[in-house]
Every structure is written in structure tokens, then in C-alpha cells.
């Protein structure tokens, strides 16, 4: 426990020190920048609810990644899975002739899980059948998904009249997920994210699935002797990850943008990769770190306006967090080994 506190203090020092250095080089006021990020994220209910609306997809993607990391898979393809989830949701939302919003939204959620899951499965099949490493398969399919969504927005699903980067036409109001009054985050999104956290914890820590994924992640060769087929568990884990990412994509469409835009995933898949590594692949830390990362993301939005700083600063801070965490853990491990 003492060691953990020490690590956190040391890590925070490293992160703030390095970020301050970047700011100094950029010639910006260091304290004002930190203050603005904080105020931008937590100064009002509306701002905080915006943070939560980022927290939801980050949490969902992170939960999904926990499964693949457990099986020792590097699911870089999570970005593409978010995009395909959003596309799946949009496909369902565009089905003509269904009146009930509840029915059509339910279909959208299901379709997003299928879209994301299938995109994940594709990476899995490339790996298990063709021997394509999941990093390359995932990266390749991310580009395909990105191209696909652009084609849809500029082609078949373009706005009547003009096709534009601002995306497809807005959804009918009845298809917007409801938010608590004065808040900017969909209730159902929060519930889904919370459920995903609990379910993931149960499955990974308390079920045989979690144990088998761990075993395969550690030693696929030995798994064969226990009659556990690594291939089928690789596929299972990446389908689950894809479905989680797909849900995140669906929520981006139905709760945040209310349309399909080219950058629908907002890079949350990549951020979630960093987040999960920072959490040391533990479910317990995910909600808190996701809140921290979401806060940084939202808080940095106003930096360009107030301080004429690029909002990419939040990315710098997130990157520093992960690198310093890995650095500290690496040192610790090296020490233990000697």
C-alpha cells in the first residue's frame, strides 16, 4: 500500500513535471493551463455531464480491451470496432417503417454489437486461420472502417443536397436518447457502462472464462494439454471486445452526435488502450482513470479559446501518464528480478 502511494506520487510528479516542461517550451503559462483544464471539466454540472458522456465510451472500450489483453491479444483494431458499431447502429436506425423508438433503438444497440463484434471476429479469423498478427490485422481494418464510414457519409447516406464532413442528416428527435434535465449525458449510456464494468469484473475474476483467457494469454501451448483451444478463446475475447466497442459507437450516434460523422470514434479506442495499460489491466481502476482521462479531454477543449493553446495538450498528459506508469512498473519489476 505504501509502495502504491509512493508510485502514485512519483508518477504524478513525473507527469506534471514533463507537461510543465512542454508548456514552458511552448511559452505558455503552466499553472493557468492546469487550472483551465480543471475548470473546463468540473466547473459546472453541464461540463461535468459532458465529461461523463466521454467517460461512457471510454469505459466501454476499456472493458472490451480487458478481455483481449487477458488473452494476450493487442486489439489495436478497437477503433475500427467503434466505427463499425456506429455504422451498425445507423443501419438499424435507418430501417424504414418502424414507428416505435424503443424498438428501433433496441435494434440499433443490437446491430452495433454485431457490427463491432463481427469486425473484431474478422481480426480474430485473420489471426487464427491466416496467421496475421492482430496488431496488423487490426490496424488494417481500422483504415478500412474509416474509409467505409467516409464512403457512407459522402455516398449512400449523404445529406440531401450536399455531402459534407459534418456528417449525415440529424436523427429524428424521438431517436435521441434521453438525458436527465440539465445534463448532457444519456441515462441509459451511464447504465450500460456501469453494467459493463460489473459484468466484466464478474466474468474476468469469477468465471471460468476469465481464468481460461488468462491461461491462454500466459501459455497457449500448455493450454492444449488442458484441452483448452486457444483459437476459440481468442475469437471469443475479440468478439466481446468488438461488441463493447460497438456499443460505444452506438452511444456516440444516439446520445452524443445524433448523426454519423467521420470521426465518430473520437479516438476513444486508442485512448482506452492507454487507459487499460495505465490501470494495470485491472477492472477496479478503470472507472476512475476513465473519469480522469475524460476530464482531461473535455477540460482541454477550452484551452485554444482561453490560452491559445492547442487542445492536444490533453493527449500529451495522457501519454505521459501511461509512459511514466509503465516506466515505474518496469523499474519495479527489474528490481524485483535482481
Amino acid at each position: 500500500m505504501k509502495k502504491l502511494c509512493l508510485d502514485i506520487v512519483l508518477g504524478s510528479l513525473l507527469v506534471s513535471g514533463f507537461t510543465a516542461l512542454v508548456l514552458l517550451i511552448a511559452g505558455a503559462p503552466v499553472l493557468a493551463a492546469f487550472q483551465n483544464i480543471w475548470l473546463g471539466a468540473f466547473a459546472s454540472t453541464s461540463k461535468f455531464s459532458q465529461v461523463l458522456s466521454v467517460w461512457v465510451p471510454l469505459t466501454l472500450c476499456s472493458c472490451g480491451l480487458l478481455y483481449t489483453f487477458r488473452a494476450n491479444l493487442w486489439n489495436i483494431g478497437i477503433e475500427g470496432q467503434v466505427i463499425m458499431g456506429a455504422i451498425g447502429a445507423m443501419t438499424a436506425l435507418r430501417i424504414p417503417g418502424i414507428e416505435s423508438p424503443v424498438l428501433i433503438l433496441t435494434l440499433a444497440f443490437l446491430a452495433s454489437m454485431i457490427g463491432g463484434g463481427a469486425w473484431g471476429l474478422l481480426i480474430g479469423i485473420l489471426k487464427t486461420r491466416g496467421g496475421v498478427h492482430e496488431i496488423f490485422g487490426g490496424l488494417g481494418l481500422n483504415f478500412v472502417a474509416q474509409a467505409f464510414i467516409l464512403w457512407l457519409i459522402f455516398g449512400p447516406w449523404k445529406r440531401p443536397g450536399i455531402a459534407s464532413m459534418s456528417g449525415t442528416e440529424l436523427l429524428a428527435h424521438k431517436l435521441w436518447l434521453t438525458t436527465p434535465p440539465g445534463w448532457r449525458v444519456a441515462t441509459i449510456g451511464l447504465l450500460i457502462a456501469a453494467a459493463a464494468l460489473i459484468l466484466t469484473w464478474l466474468l474476468l475474476e469469477k468465471s471460468m472464462l476469465g481464468l481460461k483467457l488468462k491461461a491462454i494469454g500466459k501459455n497457449p501451448k500448455a493450454a492444449l494439454l488442458y484441452d483448452i483451444s486457444p483459437e476459440s478463446y481468442y475469437l471469443t475475447s475479440i468478439i466481446i471486445a468488438g461488441s463493447c466497442a460497438g456499443l460505444a459507437g452506438c452511444l456516440q450516434v444516439t446520445a452524443v452526435y445524433h448523426r454519423l460523422i467521420p470521426s465518430i470514434s473520437s479516438g476513444y479506442g486508442y485512448v482506452a488502450l492507454l487507459l487499460v495499460m495505465l490501470a494495470g489491466y485491472r477492472v477496479i481502476l478503470i472507472p476512475f482513470l476513465a473519469l480522469f482521462f475524460a476530464g482531461l479531454n473535455v477540460g482541454a477543449i477550452q484551452l485554444p479559446i482561453v490560452l491559445q493553446l492547442d487542445s492536444a495538450l490533453s493527449g500529451v498528459i495522457q501519454g505521459c501518464c501511461v509512459l511514466s506508469a509503465l516506466f515505474i512498473l518496469g523499474i519495479r519489476q527489474k528490481r524485483r528480478q535482481s
Binding site: 471460468m208 488468462k214 484441452d227
Partner: protein, 490 residues
Amino acid sequence: MDVLFQHISKKFGSVKALTDVSFTAHSGSIHGLIGENGAGKSTLMKILTGYQSRTSGTILIDSHEVTLDNPRHASKYGIGMLYQEPMDFISLTVLDNFSLGSPKQSQQELRFALESLTIRFGFHLDPNRLVESLTVGERQQIELLRLIHCKTRVLILDEPTTGISPAQKEVLFPALKQLAADGMTILLVSHKLEEVATLCDEVTVLRHGRITHHATAPFHFPDLLTAMFGSIPERKDKEAVRKKGSPVLLMQNIEAAGERHGLQNCDISIAEGEVIGLAGLDGAGQSTFLRLAAGLTLPEHGTIQLFGKKLPRSTKAGKLAHKLKTFFIPADRLEEALFANVSLSDHFSLREKQSPFWHSQKRARSQAKKAISTFSIKAQPDDHAEDLSGGNQQRLLLALLDSLSRLVLLENPTRGLDIRSGHRVWQYLKNELSPKTTIIFSSPELDELLHYSDRVLVFHDGEIVLDSAVTDTSHDSVAAAMTGLDEALQ
């Protein structure tokens, strides 16, 4: 270069691995370091090579005190170690591996150095071959030559004959004697008394981290055994040959790739209840044979029948073998059979045939506890498999073995175990498994093969050259067949 150990102690947390160890390894001699598994031999050698720090005590090399904080320090003093598992780069050639870490020299000079060293020690190494196609024994030879070339003056050998053939042993031993005669200090870590007796000038015995005996050649075996184990392990008696039943494993016209020579023209039938010993030089085909039977390797030609069922030519073969209650324990336990940082009790959960949805830790822990006491595994249910010593890992694997198995395939089951642990493995196999269970095992130890099996198959260069009941053959004819001598075939 004399190496003096003075009052060396090492603690891991509260566990004392070494307590007040003092002795001297003299220059120009081979010094044996023997003891049971877990006696502290490896820890002591890791301290000397700078991989582990000592808690207290001093090491003097040529009367100078040395620190040895890291491996580089140690190699600066000319301390080199030949590991039990070769530490090499398998995708590089023999010459590349030899050159790595060698003093800066041109490719030609290095090739010349390698070739002259191979001739000097009577090894047969092709500098251009890829290391992955070599046997453990040959890889060890490269490592040894590299150490000599790097001006190693204190050579540590960790169980050097594990995994190498008797023929390679015949080459290795004179080489070591020659090196000692040239003034090198050699420390031999082993638990094979015969080897120690033939090679060593002096022997130090460790037990539970303390020195219990010190002797110079010639050695008195009963004393060494008492010092190692506290009491002499009882002599094993030849057991009655089991009754043969219906065929369990049938191989027809098998041809398969694997190891150095693969496996050719393999036609064999093995019956229920037989105990089959697979003899052969390292890499002669025994491992391929076992993996074929387990369905883990697929043959290129021919058919394999397990309990009358033909194994499919796909990854389903392993599944079917499993279903027919075939259990395979590979020699490399941590690499192929155990999950390094998974707890013992989780291993028991993973083994469950009908795995429930939820993971019952309580049940697994009680199973693990039971196994720990039955098999006297020195560990707790929550310990990770990687933290166990080799002997304890083997016991864990036996505990995981389904006692209802019908065909048990064991690759070198007593590898890295001392006499007593090895004996216990066999006691378990004979007592706990049904007499109808067929056991097929490979071993580099002829004594073990002849003692425990009913029938031996001798492999040579990927072919079975001798198939005989133990009662109809002898130590000498098996040894001759292993080396491919003709008289064994007559």
C-alpha cells in the same frame, strides 16, 4: 584462479536459501556441487555469476575480494556459466552464436577459432548450420566453445548432461578434464553421482542451504548419499511385468517431421497395460513419437489409431486424444505444460473436464491442498507455478494427471529430479494408475528405462531400430542400438 566462498548466506524474504556456506574451488580442478532439488546449488551459482546478490558473506577470487553485482562484473573476472537450458539464439547460425559476445575479431578469424576449437575437443559442428536444427547437446557444445573463446577461467556447469545423449557425454567429459588440466576452475552442479565420481576431484554437498559434506576423490557413495538425503533411499526392486491387453496405440507406416530426423517407417502396436520405454540419443525421434500419440503433431503419411479410433489429420487430433483419456507430460514443464504466473489451485480449475460457468475457487483450493499433501509439493495453493522448483513442478503435473487416464505419455519424466524425487514419480505412476493404463515414456537414462519399462523401443536417426521386451535385452545391446551399431539388430 581459486574461488573462495566465505560464509555466504542468502535469504529470500524469510526463507533461508543458503546459510553460512564456505568452501574453495581450486584452480585446475573440477569441483562438484551436489544436493537434492532445492538444496541451494543454483542460488549459489547465481550469486557467483552476478544474477543474484548475496545477503552476507564474501567471495574471493585469487585472494581478492570481488563484488559481483551483475553478470557483466562476473564475466569481467572470467566467470562463465553453461546453463541447463542453452541460452542461445536459435534463428542464428552456429558461427553467429559463437561470435556473439566474443572479443572483436573478423569473421574469418572467428571461423578459424571455432573450427580449431571443435577439432581440439572432438566436436562435430557445422559453422553454417542454424542452431534451431541442432540438439540440446550440440547447442551446449557451441556455448562451451564460446565460453572458452571468451577466456573464461571459472566455468560453471549446471546439470550439463541433462538432455544430452550418452555419446555426447563421452565427448564432453574428456573436454572438461582437458580444460581443468589447462588450469581452468570448473564447478559442476549435478545430482548424478556417477558423473560426479568420474569427473570431479573434490565434492561439496549441500542440503537445505547448508554444507553437509566435503570430500576429495575417490568418493564413498554411501557417505555422499547420506549427506544429500539424510538417509539412503531404499533400493528399487524390479517389479513384475504387467499383463498385456488389447491394442491401445497403433501406428502404421508413419512418417513425420520433427526434431532432427523426424520419424520414418514407424509401424508399432502397443497394448493395454504395457509400460514402454523409449530409448535413443537426444533428438532421435522419441519426442516426435510421443507428440504424435498425443495428437499434438500430425504425421505426413500413415495412420495412427488410439483405442481403435483413427486420429484425424487436423487440430482435432489432440482433442480426440484428450477425449480418449490420453495424457501427455512434456519435458519442458514451464514452457509447455504449466502456466507460469497462474496459481496452483487455478491449475486444478483449468483441468476440470466439465468446466462450470463460474469459477469455484473454494473447490480448487481444497483440491490443491489435497494434492500438496499427497504429492508433498513444497508450495501453497496460491503460489504461482513458476515459483516452484523443477521437482515440485513435476509433482504438480502428476497431481494434475487424471488418475483414470488410459494412456500416459511422459517425456523424460525425471528430468532435473534427484534420485529420491525421481523414484517418487515412479512410485506414484505404478501405485495410483490402474494396471490397465498404458505408459509410454522417454528417458536419457538407460537405467531408468530398463528398470521401469516392460518393453523398450530404441530410436536411431528417426527410426525404431530395436523393439524388445526388457527381459530379452541388455544394457549393452540397447546402448549399441542407440548409437546405431549393427550387432544390436541381430
